[in-house]
Symmetry: C3
Subunit: 139 residues, 3 copies
């Protein structure tokens, strides 16, 4: 049993930019040489989050619409009133979706479904350079 | 320290079918012979998800109403327009709730609260045969 | 590799009380003497949940407004009709946000972002004494 750390670098466009990171995660697991365990993907940020989806344009567009509807950008936020950075909605969206995702791997392969991809969603209002932490634990 | 994998098979009815899987998870932890660690329950699917709830008819009904309200089935989805499978809302609901849940166990027992059960929610629009992955890491 | 368990005790006010538990989690990781691994924070309760946020008054207020809007307290809940405890909304909020959060640590430090704190949200309708479980796995 051991712990292996990897990092993923991403350039994102913000405004609920949905990035498929499945290949990078799979490659990190492969390079770790661990066979069975879990990988925790973590976003060290308060305006971005992680989940899975069938990564095709329609579903991605529907997901973005959900956040536009329940946590709209163009309304008042107490965060914006205090800090004037205009990303109050980004914070709340990120908190709701969550910064952490743990996925099992078996025989060196992620246990994702056929139509299931791992996505990083950058809710911030501008382009960002992001780094994700991958903590793999296994044997 | 070691890793143990188990699987749970489930027949579900779809349409936000909420299944209590607590007993199956507890049994898998018990059979693993691990005493202290975590179990990650993962759904390898893009139309189902995991969380906990007090599993009684009222709360389950209230949870289903929430999803009917914020991610309604009977409206347009870009996913449906492209793929015509009618489960656009299922995908978005699953992404929001999340496919992964990690629960600690101590002395071979899940650390759930008295009124807290682990649930699998199948958001797809038809009956499905599902398999969940349980990855237990501990000693 | 080993497993270390810690517990955090919290007095909360209920009604979406948002508590910053970052320091307690960081201290538990430090005291475990583990250098690299993950900590899973788990709430053994069906009316509270965990996530991260930039912990400042504005964002916290915005998060509470979100739950007031999408899962309002002052409406009918099937859970309340059956059990008359008035916390039907608390259960659904907790299920949506989720009871579990896994955060990596490296060289004994949580990998949180500069503006990112770990929060426990107590959605129940009254003051509670809460205990959280921290399961640390690492080396």
């Amino acid at each position: 049993m051991s712990v292996r750390t990897a990092r993923i670098q991403l350039g994102t466009h913000g405004d609920a930019d949905v990035c498929d990171i499945t290949d990078q995660v799979a490659q990190s697991v492969s390079e770790s040489k661990l066979k069975n365990g879990t990988v925790t993907i973590f976003s060290p940020s308060s305006t971005s989050a992680l989940t899975t989806i069938e990564y095709e344009g329609g579903a991605v567009s529907d997901l973005r619409r959900l956040f536009d509807e329940i946590i709209a950008p163009n309304r008042d936020y107490a965060h914006n009133a205090r800090w004037h950075d205009g990303n109050g909605h980004s914070h709340i969206r990120a908190s709701l979706l969550g910064p952490s995702l743990t996925v099992p791997f078996i025989d060196g392969n992620l246990t994702l479904g056929t139509w299931q991809q791992i996505i990083f969603v950058d809710f911030d209002v501008r382009s960002r350079q992001r780094e994700l932490i991958l903590q793999m634990i296994g044997e």
